[in-house]
């Protein structure tokens, strides 16, 4: 276990010093700051107001940009080390592949998860300081959703990283996955529905398989499920599944998906040539 913690600790320290981490933290911290400066907490649009509105806006933007941030910064984790011969040297020490791989995942998970949660915590503290009511139910839901989302895309990124030899190819695949999943949130699904070529059941299944769509619907599900801003597919989903069930699904399924991809990545890492 000491080697697992060692790898996680050193990866965390290395990541925190990296420029991408600074940009990453600034983007999410900056988003919150921007919302406060723009007076989002004082506005009331479509029934949302105060901190609820701010958190909702934050999560909606985060759902789109967090996956690509995680994919781009993580996908090169192992393939980049392989490219630059770092892996060749670091793995010449008696560390099991299991400890190396999972240690890297733990370290990287903390790195990508903490800034997005800290940004929310700062928002809540600042909001409370300004006298706004704190929507704890939304805060805890979003903390769980961000946890699950980070795990999903981290798992996918490590999976790609484990079999791709060059980090440029890894980046390309990561970008493609992001665009693909992004396309299959409501925008593309609406056009499928309008064409009436596929049954509603199939479209809802496609939506439910897409972690980004699940996060999007779950993020908004604590509000009125009749809201038009949700989009037709989200409306259908919340109409057919109970809210609690959906929230559990929205956290559980992506977590299992992320762990599954991470495990597959580990198996490939273990079976293939290391360098």
């Amino acid at each position: 276990m000491k080697n697992l913690y060692l790898i996680a600790y050193l990866d965390l320290k290395e990541s925190i010093r990296a420029k991408w981490f600074l940009v990453y933290s600034l983007v999410f911290g900056g988003l919150i700051a921007l919302f406060f400066i723009a007076g989002v907490t004082e506005s009331q649009v479509m029934g949302f107001s105060g901190l609820s509105r701010l958190l909702l806006m934050y999560i909606q933007i985060t759902i789109v940009i967090l996956p690509i941030f995680i994919l781009i910064t993580t996908v090169r984790s192992i393939s980049g080390d392989r490219d630059s011969h770092i892996l060749e040297y670091m793995l010449s020490f008696p560390i099991s592949l299991k400890q190396y791989y999972w240690g890297k995942i733990i370290g990287r998970f903390i790195t990508v998860y903490l800034p997005v949660v800290f940004a929310m915590i700062i928002a809540v503290i600042y909001g409370a300081f300004k006298g706004a009511a704190i929507p704890w139910d939304i805060f805890f839901l979003y903390t769980g959703l961000l946890f699950a989302m980070s795990a999903t895309f981290l798992g996918i990124a490590f999976f790609i990283s484990s079999f791709v030899k060059s980090s440029e190819v890894a980046l390309g695949i990561a970008f493609f996955i992001w665009i693909f999943l992004l396309a299959f949130i409501d925008i593309a699904l609406i056009s499928l529905m309008m064409q009436e070529r596929f049954s509603e059941g199939l479209i809802i299944t496609i939506a439910l398989l897409n972690p980004m769509e699940i996060f999007r619907v779950a993020a908004i599900s604590l509000f009125d499920p009749q809201l038009t801003v949700m989009g037709p597919v989200a409306y259908y989903i919340l109409d057919s599944v109970s809210q609690t069930m959906f929230v559990l699904l929205a956290i559980g399924y992506p977590l299992v998906l992320g762990m599954g991809f991470a495990y597959l990545g580990y198996k490939i890492f273990e079976k293939k040539d290391l360098v």
Partner: protein, 212 residues
């Protein structure tokens, strides 16, 4: 100590190791030579357990380096030809080495001092920001502090000035007993005083193997 039996390793259509067999025993210092692409690095990486051979077997002290990598690698020190751009600080890199391989930190500092590398003044510096020579000196110090039975050096003196080379050879002389020393080199004259066996590889095969 190292037994390589009929090992073949292919990368696509390219045969990098072609039915290679050899054995390295205690107290042998071997110069592994050959042109670029001869299969030297593939052979070393197979010994380190990085590659899964397509045929044949590599055994280190009777253990398969792929299946028993932790046991096998606790007996091996390795210094690559070019120090990799590790972004850890020197202190963190030493921590990695000391915790993972149970190496004494003071011993790393001792060998670094012997290589005329002042570690204490550079502890917080990123490894990749050191000069090529300093990086190589630190990796050599780590390899010696690890007290391994098998030491593998891939062109270890490529970045070293003549004085540092002398320090390196002196330290190796002091530490070569009861070990297997494997040097990948293009310049036999540099390690001639250290080695007692010379292997020449070409096209993935061992074409000559001389002891002296």
């Amino acid at each position: 100590m190292i037994q390589i039996s009929h090992v073949t390793k292919k990368f696509g259509q390219n045969i990098s190791l072609d039915n290679v067999s050899c054995e390295f025993k205690k107290n042998e210092s071997i110069a592994l030579m050959g042109a670029n692409g001869a299969g030297k690095t593939t052979l070393i990486r197979s010994i380190l357990g990085y590659y899964h051979p397509d045929a044949g077997e590599v055994l280190i002290n009777g253990l398969n380096p792929v299946k028993n990598r932790v046991d096998v690698l606790s007996h091996i020190s390795f210094v690559p030809q070019l120090p990799p751009p590790i972004k850890l600080s020197i202190d963190e890199l030493i921590q990695y080495v000391c915790v993972s391989a149970d190496v004494d930190k003071e011993l790393v500092k001792h060998y670094a001092n012997e290589m005329k590398l002042d570690i204490n003044a550079n502890l917080s510096k990123s490894f990749f920001k050191l000069s090529g020579g300093m990086k190589q000196k630190l990796l050599i110090a780590i390899s010696l502090a690890k007290k391994s039975d098998i030491i593998i050096y891939d062109e270890p003196t490529a970045n070293l000035d003549p004085k540092a080379r002398d320090d390196f050879y002196r330290l190796l002389k002091q530490n070569e007993q009861e070990k297997v020393l494997l040097f990948v080199t293009h310049r036999l004259e540099e390690v001639k005083d250290l080695v007692n066996r010379q292997i020449y590889m070409d096209m993935g095969k061992i074409v000559s193997d001389e002891r002296f």
